[in-house]
Each structure stands twice: as structure tokens, then as C-alpha cells.
């Protein structure tokens, strides 16, 4: 049920981000449902393959989409537990996301295009650092809640976590927001709307894709945005009213707010110089580390 909800609503979240940016720039912007139409249009198109590509190029987008969908199956929707949950599933989540990134990079290398290869190398280089930050952030959650699976953590959070460890959770939320921005190729790390190949990271990788493959990649990106927004919303707004429907509603509201916040950040900030990006990513990792150190798991040390 939660998974279906995420699959259905993920393009809407992307629409919310786009709409926020458009309104702040003084434009009306595309309708909220434009992302669905884009996906339908892409699915109806025929693919064109370059003669240098192999089967890897065709299979990778769908492998990537499947990996992200699998990661989404591990993510709790607010306080509702995820369809699949077991102790240690947070590691599987991180590795599924890494697998998705690996598949897209592989397809980019398969095209033999210089731009795609450059995008792939940058994406992987930043991905390594983002992964460190994500792992540290999840470890901090483990320390705060004492639970080893994402769904259990979400269940533990409402019980006064914000009263007991507000400082730690604020840092954690900041780190998660940064990870959300970098994993989804957002400003200040990457510009999703750029059309200059030299400055692109994520977009440069998918230049050669078209038709259903591009739809798979775009869909995967939307699901990933939903996944991180949902994680962040779970941490910042663990609302428990008792009625499950109300909880889910509150969670969806929080996710939409995260979308608006991403739009605000994108409108308000300039892109970082490429060389500063690793430093920012390292700062995210340090925020997560510090939040782990401050978490009240019996003092600061094990």
C-alpha cells in the first residue's frame, strides 16, 4: 500500500519542486501533473540506439529503476512500516541506491560519448562521499532510536526523541537535507535544468537515452527524490495521532513541504564551484558524525 502510494505520488513531488521554482521566478510554471504527462510521452516514443552501444545500454535504465524501487520498498512511509523490514535493512538501502547509480554510470560509459563518461566519473566521485554521509546519518539514527531497521526506527522516533535529543536530530536533518540535494542532482551541487554539457553531472550521463529508457531514468530519479524526502519527513515530523490515515496524511504533507523547501533552496542559491562540492559533502558527513556523537546513547562514547 505504502509502496503504491509512493509510486503514484513521486512525479507529483517533482511537480511541486518545479512549480515552487517557477512561482519564485515569477512564472506560472508547468501544471503539477506535468511530470506524469512527460513520462507518458516518453513511454510512447520509440528508442533510438547508437551503433556503439551494447545490451548494457538498454538494460541499465531498467536495472536502475528496479534498484530504486527496491530501496523504496524498504523505506517506511511515515510511521507505517515498510513492506519489507528486517534488522540491518538500512545497509541494503544504501547498497541498492549505489547499485542504481552504478547501472546509470555503466550505461553512460557504454555510449562511448565523452560527455557521458565525464558525467559518470563525476557522479561516481561525488557518490562515494555522499554514501559516507548517508551511512553516518543512518548510523546516527540507529544510535538515537536503538533500532536496526528503518521501519522500527520510524516507530521509535515519536516517543519523545525530539525532546531528548533535539540537538542531534537538528544536525541529522541538516545532513539528510544535504544528502537529498546531492543524491538528486539539485542545486547547489548540480543543476537539473542546465543545458551546458560541461557543467552537468547527472544530466550529462543520460544525454544519449531516449524513449522508454529515458522514462525509466526519469522515473527512477523521481522515486529517489521521494525516498529521500520521505526519510527526511520521517525525521523532522514524526507525528503520531493514533489514526493511521491521519498519520499518513501528515506524512504526505511533510513530504510536500520538503518539496517546497527544495524548490526554495534551488531558487535562492547559486551552484557551487565543482571543486567546492567535495568539501560540502565532507561537511555533510561531519554533520552526521557530530549528530551521532551528540545522540544520547549513554553519553558520547560507546
Amino acid at each position: 500500500m505504502e509502496l503504491a502510494l509512493a509510486l503514484l505520488l513521486a512525479p507529483l513531488l517533482a511537480g511541486i519542486v518545479r512549480r515552487t521554482k517557477a512561482i519564485l521566478a515569477g512564472r506560472t510554471g508547468p501544471p503539477l501533473l506535468q511530470a506524469y504527462r512527460d513520462l507518458r510521452k516518453l513511454l510512447a516514443r520509440r528508442s533510438v540506439y547508437s551503433r556503439t552501444t551494447t545490451w548494457v545500454f538498454r538494460a541499465a535504465p531498467f536495472a536502475s529503476l528496479a534498484a530504486v524501487a527496491g530501496a523504496l520498498a524498504l523505506t517506511p512511509c511515515g510511521l507505517l512500516p515498510a513492506p519489507i523490514a528486517f534488522p540491518g535493512d538500512l545497509l541494503l538501502l544504501v547498497y541498492l541506491l549505489a547499485l542504481a547509480r552504478f547501472a546509470t554510470a555503466l550505461a553512460a560509459l557504454d555510449t562511448g560519448s565523452a560527455f557521458a563518461g565525464m558525467g559518470a566519473s563525476r557522479e561516481m566521485a561525488f557518490g562515494v562521499l555522499a554514501e559516507l554521509a548517508l551511512l553516518l546519518a543512518l548510523a546516527s539514527l540507529v544510535r538515537t532510536t536503538g533500532a536496526w531497521s528503518l521501519s522500527e526506527m520510524a516507530g521509535q522516533l515519536p516517543e519523545g526523541a525530539w525532546g531528548a535529543s533535539a540537538g542531534s536530530l537538528v544536525l541529522l536533518a541538516a545532513a539528510l537535507l544535504g544528502i537529498l540535494l546531492v543524491e538528486n542532482a539539485r542545486i547547489p551541487f548540480d543543476d537539473p535544468a542546465t543545458h551546458l554539457e560541461l557543467t552537468m553531472i547527472h544530466e550529462a550521463m543520460v544525454l544519449d537515452h531516449g524513449g522508454p529508457e529515458l522514462a525509466a531514468i526519469e522515473g527512477g530519479a523521481m522515486l529517489k527524490l521521494w525516498l529521500f524526502a520521505s526519510l527526511l519527513a520521517t525525521v523532522i515530523a514524526p507525528i503520531q495521532t493514533g489514526a493511521p490515515w491521519l498519520d499518513v496524511g501528515a506524512h504526505l504533507g511533510a513530504v510536500a513541504l520538503v518539496g517546497v523547501a527544495v524548490g526554495l533552496i534551488e531558487s535562492g542559491m547559486a551552484r557551487l564551484p565543482l571543486l567546492r562540492v567535495p568539501q560540502m559533502l565532507l561537511a555533510m558527513a561531519l554533520l552526521a558524525l557530530l549528530s551521532m556523537a551528540l545522540a544520547p546513547g549513554g553519553g558520547i562514547a560507546p
Partner: protein, 225 residues
Amino acid sequence: MNSLLVAAAGLVALLDFRLLGGSRLVPIIRAAALQGALLALVSVALRAREVELGFAALALGSAVIKGYLLPALLLRALRQVEIRREVEPLVGYNLSLLIGAAGLGLSALLGARIAANAATSTPLLVSVALFTMWTGLFLIVARRKAVTQVLGYLVFENGIYGFGVAVAGESPLLVEMGVLLDLLVAVFVMGIIIFHIQRDFSHIDVDRLALLRDVDEPAPPGEAP
């Protein structure tokens, strides 16, 4: 109360990372000043139960000195010497941050052990104070400019102050006051020395001060390596 203390300790640690990763001189001087003032206020907050007027006045005085007077002196020295406003590290920023992370882990371990032995109510503050000392020492060793070395000295003192507040809550205030005055004079003198170094050598790069040179002798062609 306790969560406020945790937040303050977290802020002090964050400022440490800011000091390690910052590339501009003026903001990191401000960061060190904020850290000192924050620690002085923490020392008052820790004893909110039985606060005495004299203690509060001394703590506020130290907050003013560390938060306003010392940075003002440093900024003045900076204005006088007219140097580039960049830190010029010997160890790169990213590596500095990583070494800081290692330092945080180490001081967490050490801090927990110390806190277990000394009867302290705030084990977190012990660790953060140790981390601040680590940061100060690292800044002294790994930065090129004389100003940053004075700054590292200040941060180191912040750490010692925090450690004293956490471990020896009833530490004699007179000693604390004496240290503070020493510090004030030291920064004052160092500001003047930096000015003189700048005037004689036209830079304050301590790495290039290795060569002795007589005043009357003409300067060697090209700057010494």
C-alpha cells in the same frame, strides 16, 4: 536545560569544524570569538542553581573579553598588516576536516574515560573541550600565517576553559581571571609582533622566517625560500 547544554556543546564542536575548514581569516576569527563567548555562557548556565553575583560577573566579563575584545584586537592587527585575507594552510581543508573527525572520535573516547573518573555532570562537555584543544593545536601546526597561530592559541585556550568548567566546576575563579588577563596581554603583544614581522619581512609567513638575516645586510636577491 540539559538539551540546551547539548545544543551548546554541539555548536562549539560545529565551530571547531568551521575553524578547520574555513578558508577566510575574518570569519574564522569571528568563529573563535563566538566559541569563547559561548563557553563562558555555558559556565554560567551549568550553575544556574546557585549562581552568585561575583561568579556571574566574572563569566560575563570573560565572555566580553573573548567574544569582543580579543577578536577586535586580532582584526585590528589584520587591518594594519594589509595581507591577503586567506588562511594559506599547510594541510588542505578537506584533510583538515578529516583529521578533525578523527580528533572528534579520539576525544569522545578519551572524554568518556576522563568523565568516568572525575565526577562530572557533563561528560559531553569534556569530550567537546578535548576536541577544541585538538583543533587549536592543529591550527597552530598546520597553518602558515602568524595570525592563524595566535588564533589556534585562542581556540586551545577555549578548550582548556571548557575542560575546566566541565571537570572542576569549582575551579578557583581567580586563576581563571589571571589566565584570561595573560591571554589578553599575549594577544595584544602578538598583534604588535605580527605588525613588526610584516614591516621587516613584508609577509607574515612563518615558514619563510627560517633564515636569519642581519639588519644592515642587504636582502638577498629574491625572497629566501
